[in-house]
Point group: D2
Chain length 285, copies 4
């Protein structure tokens, strides 16, 4: 498409009707209106202090008042354009959506709104015996929301692990069925946030330690022997995994509430075993 | 696998340890434990009274008390085996999960639990001018939950429609961008349920009537002219669609609460426009 | 949408331009043009002779000659409408797409074309020790193609199984990592087809027998002990599985060629191990 | 998992059986064996010379000879670890998989093998009237294969565009249905490669110029008027799009062969219209 032929002037634009800004007569506010399925390169930093380049699926919504006909979607996209660019110099981290959420409300003239990012997070790991390093990937979802004048930030991580069935181990003369499982930890941060920052790696480590075994991208034979026997020594029902993780997170003062889910892609079935625990850390609220 | 070689007796089974029934010492109840990603053939019936055969993705969860180590997953699968078989004679419909949820709790000795089905729902439609009949498919999600002694049933439907942008139409000398959109209606039924039953088709029709145009599997040229002009005469922002639908459902006494979502797969962007309204029909509860 | 207001007559339709039938001047034939992502209820029958109701994702393409501007997409949809309806009385089976492919070419005035169906296939199974029956689901893809005056039919099945790693078993003092795997068998039927029909269940059984263990929807404790020990006694690399299956299918006169794939969702890694063997049964063609 | 307790020595590892290296007696070579669904951060550079950070889904396979029981999967993973790290200094580009494919064969002692990467590619664009810049994302698949001593490289790009139906425009008094479409261009590079390098952006531009309109992340009102009218002035059947693109690529000496696909997510139907053209540029081979 070649725009050179277009005769365009500020004058013409100024005279175009702004349909979105018109009044709506149905008197219904809209809880969330915005854009989704945008993809942007971003930089993120966690416990190790090294910025990592990744790609985020992005969405942003605001609350629309009963009087306004439509929102200005392009302003939401502009926000992600800026976030993508600025994160190259100052990487995003847990807590960083607070300022971006405030900017969202200001730009759109809204009283409530939310931002969502989902991206691959990478961590280097040493194999348990050979100490060979390799890279594991985890899916992270980061959200910031302003509602009723209060900010809330939520962090969610999918952590793939091994689970080994205690029942299968106990009743069998040898062996035990085991499989890939995905633990999903979703936490709401306490407000005001603790001085001791929460890191994505903290959540990952809790889940990996409570599983039958953690996963690695590269394992040499001595490592494979190690993780096989380790898993056999640490059998875990899907129920055990969520309980073990919940028990540890319940003591964490940085979390207002959290959800622990585990899904076992059972090696002996064509369906999954699943469990979820929801905890409100501070019941006084 | 040939089991004939297996020397198996009731005696042996009786002596096997039942690991799931053991006591757990961590004193944490589990909100949801069960199975997911099962697939079963089922029969479903709606407003027209004709049973339709379809395939459901199924999941079932119960609440596990703090004392119990694990649940008996195979009993949950057995429930779907029975549901699949029995629905051939007595098709499932909105409201039918009440009895199955009660059975779930009884079989598992649980005080809370839930059932979820997701399946293709088919409806015959006449093209607007030629009256040629064709089949449209919609994704339906049906859930029943017992919690704190109360039953709740939720129906959710994805309804694909056309949306045509009012802004694009107004500012352009000719044409207007339009696209496929998906409206998702999710409703919680009032308890006790109304004598006037709710049908999936009722929800579908509301969404289709409030869109710029409904969709058809087969359109002849005269029909295509009709839907093209009809959509051009009924432009609708994503905001307009959710408001129009919400306004009509707000008057429906059969619904305790509902959510209306619309996602436009914008034809001029590589992202979606999205809106959602959440309504509690009876604010006194 | 209410069509009653539309003033419509055969006269008007007859005068509408038929843009698709116009001539195209770029002199480029199109290999495949048609419709995809349609969903229809169908009936299918296999070895046990009992029709099963399921839902198919459907697509149909024809070859478009260099002179023709476009195809008439609605005729392709009409074909699936008819197939859906007629299969209720005469269920589809392997071999049935031959007549439908011929009809496709005739209706569209095409010299080449293809039909594709993908659907859940269900099979009842007895648990190995308790003999309790349950339902397994498999994804089947069925295609028929006419090209250069010859018909070809392809059957593809995804068969979930257990794989247990021989290396992990050998090097470990106890245990062995195992996991869900999916075997994908894709076969081209010999033409003319053998008098001895091929069934989907034949392909499923070969894959299940060559795996470390087959899967079941319901397993009681005695069954779980059995499949755990059976898998431990039948370790299999992803390479072993595809070789074992290929060796058995290579002797099958009903197959012109085939592909065997296996993907292990490794329980100790966050990635898959994968293998594929492609065999041309009769190299003389 | 704490490895400190592990008593590990080179001696022990040396004595572990290497099951993969054992001989296989079934005398069946395996066409492809390796790893898939790995994710790694990579850097990629295209026409503008600026390295972009993105995330690639990676797979690698080698051909396994009839005598060898298994491959050493961890060596394939190591290759991606190195590729990820080295690309930070010397970004990947079209043509770069040649050396990595050679290294793959050398490391695995194989005579044939292939590498596959799939990643988001980002391009800055100016809106047609306001000239506001925004970022578009495209999915790129890059493959390198060595077989029978010859190297082949394939580039595939998904390019989302607008399509506007010529039939709907012609038969309607006003308006025309239009929708998001995805064009997939897959090209095999000529060997030896041309001195004039091929860029991903070259493929994207051809597809965008042949569509009814290209897409943008940000459009102001004057831009929206422009693209709406531009699309209305450039109606295109799915057949027209693939022909228009094929006609232009057929003249490109850098391509040995190519495939052009287009899928329209029809705004008036719940299914897609689809077309594909396959061209062998040099029929003498």
């Amino acid at each position: 498409m070649n725009a050179k032929e277009v005769k365009h002037s500020t004058h013409v634009v100024a005279m175009m009707p702004d349909v979105q800004s018109e009044h709506d007569t149905r008197r219904l506010p809209i809880d969330r209106v915005g854009v989704k399925r945008l993809r942007y390169p971003i930089h993120f930093v966690d416990r190790d202090g090294a910025a990592q380049a990744t790609v985020a699926a992005c969405s942003a919504y605001i609350m629309l008042s009963a009087q306004q006909k439509g929102t200005h979607m392009s302003r939401l996209v502009t926000l992600f354009e800026e976030m993508s660019e600025k994160s190259a110099k100052k990487p995003l981290k847990i807590g960083a959506l607070r300022d971006w959420s405030a900017l969202l409300l200001k730009r759109l003239g809204a009283t409530a709104g939310e931002l969502h990012l989902e991206f691959d997070f990478f961590a280097r790991k040493k194999a348990p015996v050979s100490s060979i390093e390799s890279t594991m990937n985890y899916l992270v979802r980061l959200s910031g929301e302003v509602k009723d004048g209060r900010y809330g930030e939520r962090v969610e991580v999918d952590i793939p692990v091994t689970s080994l069935c205690p029942c299968s181990k106990r009743i069998s003369d040898y062996g035990a069925h085991n499989q890939r499982s995905v633990v999903t930890l979703g936490v709401m941060l306490e407000e005001p946030m603790s001085d001791e920052p929460l890191f994505v790696m903290d959540l990952i480590r809790v889940a990996e330690e409570e599983a039958s075994s953690e996963l690695f991208a590269i394992l040499k034979r001595a490592d494979e022997k190690y993780v096989t026997e380790y898993a056999h020594d640490h059998p875990n029902f899907v129920e055990d995994m969520v309980r073990g993780i919940a028990q540890r997170l319940a003591a964490d003062k940085r979390l207002a509430s959290f959800s622990v889910e585990a899904e076992n892609f059972e090696s002996i079935h064509n369906h999954s075993a699943y469990a979820q625990i929801l905890i409100q850390n501070d019941s006084s609220r």
